[in-house]
Symmetry: C2
Subunit: 356 residues, 2 copies
């Protein structure tokens, strides 16, 4: 890991005068991106021969360090200064991988996480003004869903550069999309993302795990596009399955995949199920589901409900489903009872006579 | 597999005169039982030296075939003539293993399964009188829960030997226990069992899978005890985890392990869940649960409900659990709304001010 304070000062201090919105600080990295690699070695991709518009006679003799200098330059350009706002469990989890990839990390939270920040090589700022004055390339909103709005409103965004990229990693997407579009100056770029994993499920790395993103607003100039790509590339390099979909699509799916799973887990938790001497495989599945969903906070679950408009409908459907199943069972009981009452048949519900 | 008709005639035809209830046809096999073996080779256990009351000088010279004859005799004595009543999916599934172990199989069902019976080496009897006249050692009731009573009442049990062993394999236990005790002559032995697996879950053998049993009534004489042991030994030899518990205990546990699992699976099935591009691991668990529970018949599920008195309470608790979870979520919504109505605070529910 880099010593972030050194790196911060070397690369970014003293702050340069604010560049024009269409700054060319970033060159498109898309052409150079390596295929996703679980190992995520530091970027050493070579510029593609003949790519771009500038044609150089690179088959002619080049200075001996041409290639290593080119690779170094590219790596430098893909390095981002990322301010993580909300440095709880999930923010710290992301920070560890960002740091390993060599990005410069700043952190801010309402609680004091300065020592935890130091342990992952991030500079910690108690005062959001100080954070914003550092002019991060990316501000990553990693608060809980419930506190996102209050935290965002507490940031002095006027101290940031005019074309800063805001990214959120909340588990719902339409709410932060509307919040960011409504609160941030129109010059700011916005990408809404949902890394669908956490410290538990990604204990062995991010390889193959889904990363949902929606490039909600990325200014139409190469530098901004390159910065967006450089940020997304963090996840691609780790081997994430990159899933691009709109925030609305995400929330429609997530009501089923996330909110439903949590609801079933929390319902079963209320029953205080215990392991029995005769667990079936299906029952053990339920016991694991309870463990997994209840290790997440109730605040997260509440956020999935309150900030996803599809959740209420799903809750209604689940209730309807329970009523339907119950109705089928009780209708069966009534059939048997009615047979006894009106036909005087014995109490077996299925008493077709057999040959004697 | 044995050719059952040959074996039936060789071993059991013509029927001997009914023996006294305390027949010594079976010697206790418990002392000779091998530890559970997944391979389930034919029994070749040697009589324990010095075991029992008859002491023989077996360290002296013995006829060259002494051991193989002893093993053969033991194996013979552990072979049972089993009549499977209800030859549906589950009855056939059990029959395949019974046949492999060398037991003589008879089968009877309300539908005509004669060709399926032949394929596992079982003699098929359309007429239950013919079946009972064959004097099986064990009558295994493998009907659905719903039809158990009607089928049992259709059997001419007076044609069986007076000390026949009745075994059921239904997924509920108190109901068949009371049914068998109430319907059968008092001389009959009764063991209620629940092999907690089926053709799907035991595709690779029965090793380690739970087999629940309750020796409800086994006459106090060596032959009857030996017959009960010989029957249970079928499952022990295949490596089943033998769980002895009362029928009441079974039903209390099974309401949670079976009925609850099926109920959750069937509720979720009503929602017609689909795989999405962003399945979480928990969601995939739910999708598998739906597949597994809905591959069983609704009749089985209905039976688990109707014939287990603990199921109604569990259904009530599940409904209470859903209401509690819902209440917590909606209380949260009301809190936010009330704050807006009475305190004029912004619409974020958690808006503790942060230092600016």
């Amino acid at each position: 890991m880099l010593s972030s304070s050194t790196s911060t000062h070397r690369l970014h201090q003293p702050p340069p005068p604010p560049p024009p919105p269409a700054s060319h600080q970033f060159r498109s990295a898309a052409a150079f991106r390596r295929p996703p690699s679980p190992a995520a070695a530091p970027l050493r991709a070579r510029p593609q021969r003949g790519g771009g518009t500038t044609i150089r006679a690179i088959d002619a003799a080049q200075p001996f360090d041409y290639e290593s200098r080119a690779a170094g330059l590219l790596e430098e350009r893909q390095r981002l200064k990322i301010a993580i706002v909300g440095f709880g469990n999930f923010g710290q989890f992301l920070a560890r991988t960002f740091a390993r990839q060599g990005h410069t990390l700043l952190a801010h939270s309402r609680s004091d996480y300065s020592s935890l920040a130091a342990s992952v090589g991030a500079s910690y700022f108690q005062d959001p003004h100080d954070l914003c004055e550092c002019h991060p390339d990316v501000v990553l909103l990693a608060t809980s869903i419930l506190s996102a709005e209050a935290v965002l409103r507490s940031l002095p965004v006027h101290r940031l550069r005019r074309n800063t990229l805001f990214v959120d990693v909340l588990s719902v997407k339409e709410f932060p999309r509307n919040l960011l579009l409504g609160s941030l100056p129109p010059d700011f770029d916005v990408i809404c993302t949902h890394p669908m994993f956490g410290p538990e499920s990604a204990r062995d790395g991010w390889d193959g795990l889904p990363f949902v993103f929606d490039k909600v607003r990325v200014g139409d100039c190469p530098a901004r596009r390159a910065r967006a790509e450089a940020f997304l590339n963090i996840f691609e390099r780790e081997g994430c399955r990159m899933v691009e979909m709109t925030c609305a699509e995400h929330d429609a799916h997530a009501a089923e995949t996330q909110f439903l799973t949590h609801t079933v887990g929390r319902m079963l938790a209320m029953l205080e199920l215990r392991s029995t001497p005769i667990n079936t495989k299906g029952y053990e599945t339920l016991l694991r589901l309870v463990d997994n969903t209840c290790s997440d906070s109730f605040d997260l679950y509440n956020g999935l409900f309150m900030y996803n408009k599809n959740s209420t409908e799903l809750l209604n459907r689940l209730e309807w489903a329970m009523d339907s199943v119950k109705k089928k069972l009780f209708d069966g009981l009534h059939d048997v009872l009615r047979k006894q009452l009106f036909e005087g048949s014995p109490h077996a519900p299925n008493n077709t006579p057999v040959r004697k």
